[in-house]
Each structure stands twice: as C-alpha cells, then as structure tokens.
Amino acid sequence: MRRSVFITGLAAALVLGMGVFGTGRKGSVTSAQEKTSTMEVKIDNFSFGPVTLTVPVGTTVTWTNRDDIPHTVVSTDDPKTFKSKVLDTDEKFSFTLSKAGTYPYFCSIHPKMTGKVIVQ
C-alpha cells in the first residue's frame, strides 16, 4: 500500500520535473511570466526545514515528510490558503503561491511544528 503511494509521489515529482524542463522545449507555449520554480521544505524530526522560506510570487513549494510519523501542512489563515491531506513517510504536498504575503503554517497533528513562507 505504502509503496504504491510512494510511486504516485515519485510520478508526481517526475511530472513536475518534466513541466520545468518542458518550459525550455515549449518556450513558445509558456510565457516567461507563467514560468514557475519549485522550492523544497523538508520535514525532519518534527520540524520544518527551513522554518522560514522566502520565495518569489508564483513559486511552487513542495513539502516532503521524512519522519516515521505522519504530518500535515496547513496554513493558519481563515479560510485556509493551503491544507494538505495527511502525509505519511516520504509523501509530498505541493502548493503554488501566486499572491505576495506571509503564510504561516503548521502541522495540524503536531501543532508545535510551525513554519512560514514569505512570498514577495
């Protein structure tokens, strides 16, 4: 069961990767304005790393859970800008931040785990 989930995660990462490489090949289709980059946040030992991530508008942030215990990634605003399903070991969650601002977030299972993304 977990293996299939992991493979799905890998496939998603591959698609994402192809998308990024694809902008080169299909430059005429994707304008420079729509070009996105990806930034990573790793979850290790019940903490987000980096705790604060600063990215340009339009960046896709991908969180990867590397703990033995499941976690979530949930923004603290209301209504919530982003809210992942539960992430088991090695599962990922991606969200594209298209508006400037500060987005504090936490793990709704272990609320002591907090982080933020600054989009500018």
Partner: protein
C-alpha cells in the same frame, strides 16, 4: 522546588525501596511496571517484582478495568513492523489477568492513518479479549482528513460534540474527553469551550465522595510542552474536579508510563501497544524509539485499574507485554 515537591510522595509505606525522589523516575522507567494504591489522596507504590507480597484483597477491587492505548494499527516501520502482533499480545495479557476486567478503555491512536481497514483490524483483535465493552476516545491519528467523522460513526454513538461522554460503573464516574480536535498552531492539546461547559455541568450534581476517572488521549498535565505533551486548557477542566476526593486521570499519547500526584488527582499515562517513544527531551524529537527486537515487548504494555469501594482506593498496575 515547591513545584518539584508536589511530584513527590510523602512516605514509603510499603518499604519497597522506592523513595520519594526515586518514585517518579521509577514510574517513568518504561517496562518495569508498578502497582499503586491510593488511599485518602496518598499513593502507595509497589514494584511489580514484589507484587506477590500484596494481598489479593488489595488487588481485587469491586471494579476492575483495563486501559490500552496507542495501538497505531497500520504503523509498519522498524520500531515495530508487527503492531497487530503486539496488540494481540496485549489481549493475551488482559485475558491472563486474575480478575477479569469489566471493560476496557482505549485512550486513542487506535489507528495510525485513520484508514477504515486499520480500525477494522483493531476491532477484530479486541473481539478476542474477555472484556466485551470497550470505551474509546480519539487520538490525533484517528481523526485525520475528516475532522473525526469516521471515528464518531464507529465509536461515538451517544457521545456529545467531538465524541466526549460520561458513564457510571459501580459508583465511579467515568468521563471520556477529546483533546485532539481543532489544535491551534504553536499550541498543545485542546478541550475547547463547549466541552469544558459540558464537563462543569456533568459533575455538578455528583457527591464529593464519588470517585472520578477521566480519560483522554493527550496528557491533561504538562508532561513536556516542548513536544506538545500537555493540554492548553486542562487547568480549567481540573478546576471542576477540585471538590472530589479521588480523581484519576488516564492518558496515552506519550508511549511510556508516567505518574504524578497533585492534591486529590493522580495522573497516569499508559504504555503503547505499538512502539515506545523517548523520555521527554532525551531525543531530537518524540518520534518512535527503536529498541532491539528482543526488548520491544518489555517497553510496550497495558494498564490494569482496580477500585476498592469504601477504601477510597484506586490501584493502577502497569504490565509490560514481555
């Protein structure tokens, strides 16, 4: 210093070699087990190795029940690749107790990922236990993705709000609380306003002599807030129980046994049936603690509780699965 003193016992009545300073350390020492009797707010402890010296009358109360916790069905990492096997061992342990417990309490994290098949497996295994009634409260792992809807459908019949309820058994009042919902960023476990109001109302008409047993997943005392091992509004909940002579609080979540006595309240956390967690602050995080396979069952366990009517005594016994 005064804070520390509250944790200490006044006397070593039973000459078991556990002095007042050593007591907490002993209780936190997962796997050794201890037998505890509370009389008039004073807790006597016996180490499991001397349990044969305790009279049967002290152990067999008029009400006995067993607490299990943190089954984490679905967990399959090296700390314990067979959580179904260790839950079955817990059931065997329960079935081997001298006094058949009248019922079981499960203090949450029944499942690891809130999957239907995980709950089904636990239900199936617990059917093999002699006590047929199981009273559940959810852990944070039981309410993933659906705000606890599935948990309520399975285990919450007749409960209020997110799944809290109370019931009476042989003169003891039991309260199952939910402190794993609507957790706030940076915070600890939460009972919430609605549940606190219900609690106040629920105990209003009880006699002060009524023994109270409160059970919830996350500890209702501050075990180690840095790891989220506590409940933000537990002080309010405990304030409603101040008038009672005997209050026992049973929790899970921290996968190790720990005990503390504060005034009329005895706090107790149970071992997990799945995997141990490190002592507070003794690791980088509260993640699963890996121990050699042959030692695993010595750090997992069940908790057996006996109430002796008229003696104001509540005995809490932790047994490892080894």
């Amino acid at each position: 210093m005064s804070e520390k003193k509250k944790d200490e016992l006044l006397n070593d009545h039973n000459h078991d070699g556990i002095d007042r300073r050593g007591f907490l350390k002993c209780m936190a020492w997962a796997g050794t087990g201890a037998f505890c009797v509370m009389k008039g707010g004073v807790l006597n402890s016996y180490s499991m190795s001397r349990i044969s010296e305790i009279s049967t009358a002290d152990m067999m109360g008029e009400l006995s029940f067993v607490q299990i916790s943190d089954s984490h069905m679905g967990f399959n990492k090296p700390a314990n690749p067979d959580v179904a096997g260790t839950l079955k061992a817990a059931v065997d342990k329960i079935n081997g107790l001298t006094a058949v417990p009248e019922f079981m309490l499960h203090t949450g994290d029944i499942s690891h990922l809130s999957k239907p098949e995980e709950f089904d497996t636990v239900d199936q295994i617990l059917k093999g236990a002699k006590p047929k009634d199981v009273f559940y409260v959810p852990g944070e792992h039981d309410v993933l993705n659906d705000d606890g809807k599935q948990f309520l459908e399975r285990y919450g019949k007749g409960s209020k709000g997110a799944g809290w309820y109370s019931f009476d058994k042989k003169g003891t009042h039991f309260m199952g609380l939910v402190n794993v919902m609507n957790l706030k960023a940076g915070g600890l476990g939460t009972l919430g306003h609605e549940q606190l109001e219900w609690m106040e109302d629920d105990v209003k008409h009880l006699k002060h002599s009524t023994p109270i047993v409160v059970f919830a997943h996350i500890p209702l005392w501050s075990v180690y807030p840095e790891w989220g091992w506590g409940t933000d509004d537990s002080a309010q909940a405990l304030a409603y129980l101040k008038k009672f002579g005997s209050v026992t609080v049973l929790n899970g979540h921290i996968h190790q046994t720990m005990q503390k006595v504060e005034g009329n309240v005895t706090f107790h956390t149970a071992a997990s049936t799945a995997f141990p967690q490190p002592q507070p602050g003794k690791a980088d995080s509260p993640g699963p603690m890996k121990v050699p396979a042959e030692q695993l069952r010595s750090v997992l366990g069940i908790t057996d509780v006996n109430y002796v009517q008229g003696q104001h005594a509540l005995a809490v016994v932790d047994s490892s699965l080894a």
